[in-house]
């Protein structure tokens, strides 16, 4: 026992850890079953009551691949050809004919498009600077610039896509960069593919819109609140503080809400206060005019992720619309603010409907560090036409805020400090370099093209996914059952121990998959089934070896010892290492579902060696030490 104590502890910890990682998956399954039995209002109530739990479970469960849960997978590629076309200035017929030649040459050439373009221009003895960059640029400069553009186009495209997907409201979207030119977008549960495809393509619209004065906005919001049945506010100053009092800060409001959703019952007064707030101010309960200490209200309302849709629904009701000034529009922030608890809050901006400027006037934007204050800044450069308008706009709106809006989402709303003439503006006050970088990408996205095309797309309907899960789980179960029955039949008690190890093996594989946030795909289920085969093989190797050793006249304990040691040192180690290598190669070369298979295979190989060599051995040795009879058939 002593010799095994360390190993027993290790095994128990591994099992507990796996179960801990699998628990959310189990909970998620339970919730979805309960929800299936509830109808309409009941299910809405249930969701509200268990809101946080459901979301936590969902976030930490084993992720299902699109082939299992249905959804859309789109691979976008930056269209360099289109980019070259879009970037060129003064396009004339000569340019078009060269471009056509490049297009034709690209069909059967391994050179990349920019090299081809350069080559064709050289053949025609035309300098690249005639169409790109400024007149004095050498071809090398232009080529370098074009390359930079093509690589930054992917960042722009990615930000545009992310922004649109966020607004579309897909749960658990995944947007990844693949290589230098591709973006993989995975949208679980989405089947309206025509709509989504529209969403992913097309150029971004960048606009500068003036924010409505906070005082005016507040009056409007109050009238909305009143129209919804809220109590009248006595005077504006009080209402201002009431807005802050009832919720103090976003963080405080959030704590109250999160307590509400957890299992601990809410202290009664707090609950009452919250209920009262909901009743007294139905609108502000959803969209909170959170005010920072010692500062004037910034004019923004804050809503939790889930409440956004409700707020928009209220604001678009005909009876409410009548209360709103005709030139007022509402735009959400692109990125959420996080509370200490990790809940997302978006802010709602009231802006002038008419844009002051559109992004086409931006010539360049660059995020840098201001050497004087060592803070991140973004320098924005406009063309002469834009600069003229910008001077007028900034001159007339000093100390007011102008929102930078891309595809109907606010990325920033800087305050105008002075009248800006000459078209060069500096945006300061960002909290991090990342924030500045994002703003640079957004500002460029309005002016510079980021043409993408769909090179790969797959949509799986949810029903096909359900069928696949059922068939996969059913065959996995049957395979496992049959194998286990055979092991007992053939190897007796030893087989039973192996079966325990086999079950643990499956738990390990799924647990690791959940813990590392891996994705289970249909080939992945096949991988789990194969893992069972690998684990069986390890046990068979060991047991056959034990039988052989026992024949030579060793005691049972000595035979077991020799069997395990020799089987592992010889066959098991080499055999599993080679299988693992194929797994690695498969993971490298495969995509999507196939990678899922490779992943489960690799995890499975490690888990099966562990469960066969360590777990079953410890169980058998402990049994023998306790004087139990263990046979190997």
């Amino acid at each position: 026992m002593k010799k095994n104590r360390g190993r027993v502890i290790f095994i128990v910890i591994s099992v507990l850890l796996s179960l801990y990682f699998l628990y959310p998956t189990f909970k998620d399954y339970r919730f979805s079953q309960q929800l299936r039995n509830l109808r309409g209002e009941d299910s809405a109530k249930f969701v509200e009551a268990h809101d946080k739990e459901i979301r936590d479970a969902r976030q930490n469960r084993i992720k299902l691949g699109l082939d299992l849960q249905g959804g859309m997978r789109v691979v976008l590629e930056v269209n360099v050809f289109k980019l070259l076309e879009d970037l060129a200035k003064n396009k004339d017929d000569a340019f078009k004919s060269i471009l056509d030649e490049v297009r034709a040459a690209a069909q059967n050439s391994d050179l990349d498009l920019i090299d081809l373009l350069r080559q064709k221009f050289a053949e025609k003895q035309v300098r690249l600077s005639r169409y790109y960059g400024s007149f004095r640029d050498s071809d090398d400069d232009v080529v370098k610039r074009l390359r930079d553009e093509s690589s930054s186009a992917i960042d722009r495209a990615m930000e545009i896509v992310r922004n649109r997907v966020d607004q579309y409201g897909v749960s658990e979207p995944s947007i990844q960069k693949q290589g230098a030119r591709r973006i993989i977008v995975e949208l679980p549960g989405v089947s309206k593919d025509a709509e989504v495809r529209q969403l992913l393509q097309g150029t971004a619209l960048l606009e500068f819109k003036l924010l409505i004065d906070p005082e005016i906005a507040l009056k409007v919001y109050e009238s909305v609140d009143k129209a919804l049945g809220g109590k009248p506010m006595n005077d504006t100053t009080k209402s201002d503080t009431s807005g802050t009092d009832t919720s103090a800060t976003v963080a405080a409001a959030d704590t109250a809400k999160s307590v509400d959703t957890s299992l601990v019952p809410l202290p009664e007064e707090q609950m009452k206060a919250q209920e009262k707030e909901k009743k007294d101010h139905p609108f502000f309960a959803l969209a909170n005019p959170f005010q920072q200490e010692n500062q004037a209200w910034n004019g923004q309302l804050y809503s939790s992720e889930e409440d956004r849709a409700k707020v928009m629904q209220i604001l678009s009701r005909p009876d409410i619309r009548r209360l709103l000034p005709s030139d007022m529009a509402f735009v959400w922030s692109a990125k959420p603010a996080f509370t200490a608890e990790g809940r997302k809050f978006y802010s709602l901006y009231a802006v002038k409907k008419q844009a002051e400027l559109t992004g086409g006037v931006i010539v360049n934007a660059r995020a840098t560090i201001d050497p004087q204050y060592n803070t991140p800044v973004v320098n924005m450069e406009m063309n002469s036409e834009g600069a003229r308008d910008w001077a007028r706009i900034t001159g007339a709106n000093i100390k007011k805020r102008v929102a930078i809006i891309m595809d109907n989402a606010v990325f920033s709303a800087p305050v105008v400090q002075t009248k800006i003439t000459g078209g060069n503006s500096q945006i300061t006050g960002m909290e991090s370099v990342e924030e500045a970088k994002l703003l640079e990408i957004v500002l460029k996205a309005g002016a510079l093209p980021a043409p993408v095309e769909i090179v790969q797309q797959a949509t799986v309907g949810p029903s096909l996914g359900e069928d696949s899960i059922r068939q996969g789980v059913w065959s996995a179960g049957l395979a496992l059952g049959l194998t286990m029955a055979f092991m007992i039949f053939y190897y007796g008690t030893g087989g039973l121990m192996a079966d325990i190890a086999l079950l643990l093996n499956v738990i390990f594989v799924l647990g690791v998959l959940a813990g590392f946030k891996g994705t289970l795909t249909l080939p992945g289920i096949a991988g789990v089934i194969l893992t069972v085969a690998i684990a069986v093989d390890a046990n068979v190797l060991i047991f056959e070896r034990i039988r052989e050793e026992a024949v030579t006249g060793k005691t049972l304990m000595a035979a077991i010892d020799a069997g395990y040691t020799r089987a592992f040192k010889g066959a098991i180690f080499d055999a599993n290492l080679t299988a693992f290598i194929t797994g690695v190669i498969l993971y490298q070369f495969g995509t999507g579902p196939v990678q899922g298979f490779a992943l489960t295979l690799m995890i499975g190989i490690v888990a099966s060696v562990f469960s066969a060599v360590v777990v079953s051995r410890v169980i058998i040795e402990i049994l023998i030490e306790r004087g139990k009879h263990v046979s190997f058939g």
């Binding site: 393509q201 096909l464 068939q471 049957l478 039949f489 055999a575």
Partner: protein, 322 residues
């Protein structure tokens, strides 16, 4: 419980016959491949594929007419799973997803009362298809080489060669079987797609596993029975590991068969290739990998024992000094 007592089968004695059989099977596969061609899946070929569910059984001819009219002649149209579900595929490429959109709208026009449901849609651009094909090829080749190198390093060089040839044999047999049976019954519509490549790589892994176990036993026995002839030694090792080989392979065989019949349409080709693979993988470890090691070693031995005196003196004279 045990199925096998001590066996003394002379595996290596009949290896020449099995070489011939293996060659014949592979040849049959190559013939089938050259007649039927590679039946690539959508991910390797590129194009648009849709799985469509109709409410009522639908005439394939009508769908074909619709596809021809929509400008996608020579489309592949076949039943998928049940009679109401159809798989449509065209190699035609369009910008973005225009092909899919067009099919969708003509479906709505042709079957307005049925309102068919699109269960799955896939579009693979021409470049992506070529890329995936190249990646798959590289994956198979590099895993063959990696396995061979590993064995050559852990054992002896010739063991590595034997392992690579055996693995190559397995892939060729599986590829041939897939090609021969493809399209013969309604359950055997196989195509070479990414899942199939995953199956081939798994075959490589499983077959390797089997080969390593046997090689390992040969190596171990070589240390114990130093004076035993290699043929006798290999036979002894094969007999000693036979019980394990059959039980493991039998289990995997049962598992992949279950997967084939119950794993659903998507996993079927994969499971079939694996089923063939586990059979040929088990076989090749004995009759290809071990046999090559034996024959090569015999060849070296014979070379050593060959009389130094050359048979044709005149030749020797000409070549002298070189």
């Amino acid at each position: 419980m045990r199925f096998f007592g001590k066996t003394t089968i002379d595996f290596m004695g009949k290896r020449k016959m099995w070489y011939t059989i293996s060659a014949a099977v592979i040849l049959a596969g190559i013939v089938s491949l050259s007649i039927k061609g590679f039946h690539f899946g959508i991910d390797f070929k590129g194009g648009t594929e849709m799985i469509i569910q109709f409410r009522q059984p639908t005439d394939v001819g009508k769908i074909r007419a619709m596809m021809d009219q929509a400008g996608f002649p020579r489309s592949e149209i076949k039943a998928y799973g049940g009679p109401n579900t159809i798989l449509l595929r065209t190699e035609m490429q369009g910008e973005g997803t225009s092909v899919g959109d067009k099919i969708r709208s003509s479906l709505q026009q042709t079957f307005p009362e049925d309102a068919p449901k699109i269960l799955q849609e896939q579009k693979i651009g021409p470049k992506v298809g070529a890329e995936l094909r190249r990646n798959a090829f590289l994956a198979v080749i590099s895993s063959l080489v990696a396995m061979g190198l590993y064995v050559a390093f852990r054992f002896k060089f010739i063991y590595g060669v034997g392992a690579i040839v055996a693995l190559f044999h397995d892939v060729m047999v599986a590829l041939g079987a897939v090609s021969i049976l493809d399209g013969i019954t309604q359950y055997t519509n196989f195509e070479i797609d990414q899942n199939m490549i995953a199956a081939f790589l798994t075959i490589i892994g499983l077959s390797m596993n089997d080969t390593v176990v046997i090689f390992d036993r040969i190596r171990e026995n070589q240390k114990v029975y130093r004076s035993m002839g290699l043929m006798e030694l290999i036979n002894k090792s094969l007999n000693e590991t036979l019980s394990r080989t059959i039980i493991t392979s039998g289990t995997v065989f049962v598992i992949t068969t279950i997967l084939f019949f119950l794993g659903g349409e998507v996993n079927r080709g994969f499971a079939f290739a694996l089923t063939i693979g586990i059979l040929t993988g088990t076989y090749s470890s004995i009759y290809i990998a071990s046999a090559i090691v034996l024959d090569y070693t015999n060849y070296k031995e014979r070379k050593k024992q060959r009389p130094i005196v050359p048979e044709k003196i005149s030749y020797e004279a000409v070549n002298q000094g070189s």
